[in-house]
């Protein structure tokens, strides 16, 4: 059986149990394994030198694999023991955007796109096909009622915390909401792009530093019926969605300047800025969305299609 710690995909997402450490919090073993990055302890020690692995699973030769496994397990043990240890140091020569940030403030204050596109924004910004989809879409069909996580850019506007860790060859974003972990693969480190046709709910992200900013470009999104707005608005996004995020420090806050484009559903690019105040509180993890609880919200939502048979949802436990 493959060692799950050695499995990697180009998007950095893995569906394996793992042990995570949270600065200032006890370590937790996650059993759900939803949208989690692989073990960060391995990132710290750079045990595996196969960054050009793409989406394929990379297996080391037996001896080196065994050694790597031993060292990995030892590292995990240390990580569990030293749960109070701080995040790894920010690599030298790059702007420091690491930390934990809670809440969000739109700059300027709320508009029709920030923190999330509202009905007026959708009317003003969406293409005719986008508006047609909005009109047809039934809230009861929204994937979130099956605990599908919030996509991008919606998760940027949610009021929950995010932790950023800058590593030598990547930047990890851990969102409190929905247990989402994104890996931004820094350019110039030999990371191979996923093969053509591979799409991801949170896209494929690459990054680079420009002056005092981390610039993240994300493409390769799956179609998302709530890609630009969820919760009754339901503004979709397409596989052509492209996001450019520019992160910098603004006092004690993290500033995100976002540009989003989608020629299928947006008439033109949209831009907005959000500040996230820094916090010393650890993330409250795991989120562990409960499908039955999510679906209970539908008690107060009317379906657009009452003539259809009722939806008997399957909830995997």
């Amino acid at each position: 059986m493959r060692d799950p710690f050695l499995m990697r995909r180009a998007d950095g997402v893995q569906r394996q149990d793992f042990v995570r450490t949270e600065p200032g919090a006890r370590s937790e073993r996650h059993s759900r394994g939803i949208l989690r990055d692989r073990l960060t302890a391995i990132d710290y020690t750079s045990l595996v030198d196969d960054d050009a692995s793409g989406e394929s699973m990379s297996l080391m030769k037996p001896l080196s694999q065994t050694l790597a496994l031993v060292v990995a397990l030892a590292t995990v043990g240390l990580a569990v023991v030293f749960t109070q240890s701080p995040s790894p140091a920010v690599p030298a020569g790059v702007p420091n955007i690491s930390g934990t940030f809670a809440g969000r403030r739109c700059v300027p204050a709320n508009s029709d796109v920030c923190p999330e596109m509202n009905a007026q924004g959708a009317e003003r910004l969406m293409t005719a096909r986008g508006k047609a989809l909005i009109a047809a879409f039934d809230e009861h069909a929204a994937p979130k009622y099956d605990c599908s996580p919030a996509g991008l850019p919606i998760i940027f506007g949610d009021p929950w915390a995010v932790r950023i860790e800058q590593l030598k060859d990547r930047v990890n974003f851990t969102y409190e909401k929905d247990d989402v972990v994104r890996t931004v693969w820094l350019e110039g480190n030999g990371h191979q792009r996923p093969r053509s046709g591979l799409l991801f709910m949170h896209g494929y992200s690459t990054g680079r530093y420009e002056g005092n900013q981390l610039v993240v470009e994300t493409t390769r999104f799956t179609f998302d019926p709530e890609g630009f707005a969820g919760d009754v608005i339901n503004a979709p996004s397409s596989t052509q969605k492209r996001l450019v995020e520019r992160y910098s420090r603004s006092g004690n806050a993290l500033r995100l300047e976002l540009t989003a484009e989608d020629p299928v559903f947006l008439l033109g690019p949209i831009t907005y800025t959000i500040d996230y105040p820094e916090t010393k509180e650890p993330l409250s993890l795991p989120w562990s969305c409960d499908p039955a609880s999510a679906q209970r919200n539908l008690h107060v939502v009317k379906t657009k299609y009452p003539q259809d048979p009722p939806i008997n949802r399957r909830n995997d436990k």
């Binding site: 009754v232 989120w287 609880s293 999510a294 008690h299």
Partner: protein
């Protein structure tokens, strides 16, 4: 109207000041606040949205299970407000003031001025 029954349609113009989260848009009538007095059936302190299930009569005296929402609140934010998994016990009596569901379904949203939950002795929760 029986004691403890549904108190209908108290109009609060100030309720319009409540800034709705995107997740609540259109689901609850923010111009109205209703009062429910009932017994706790379940307290589901889980994500994405903790829900208090209350056994309480409607305006016709018919007992129903009411879903009490706390705006867009999730476990982390409600915990910071002082809620916990043991905040409510099954069988205890509480009074809830919240915005009624626009669909007429038995659901209310506790969010903003004039809304809240109190225990039988009048203490507010949390």
């Amino acid at each position: 109207m029986k004691a403890g029954a549904f108190t209908a349609a108290i109009l609060f113009g100030a309720a319009a000041l409540v800034v709705a989260h995107h997740g609540q848009v259109g689901l609850f009538d923010e111009s109205r606040i209703v009062e429910l007095k009932g017994t706790v059936k379940q307290w589901n302190f889980i994500n994405p949205h903790p829900i208090l299930v209350l056994d309480a009569p409607d305006d016709k005296g018919v007992r129903k299970d009411w879903d009490v929402y706390f705006g867009p609140g999730a476990v982390p934010s409600l915990r910071r407000q002082g809620f916990a998994a043991d905040t409510f016990k099954a069988g205890e009596t509480v009074v809830v003031k919240g915005h009624p569901a626009t669909t007429g379904a038995p659901g209310v949203d506790v969010l903003g001025k004039g809304t809240g939950v109190t225990r039988a002795d009048g203490r507010s929760v949390p």
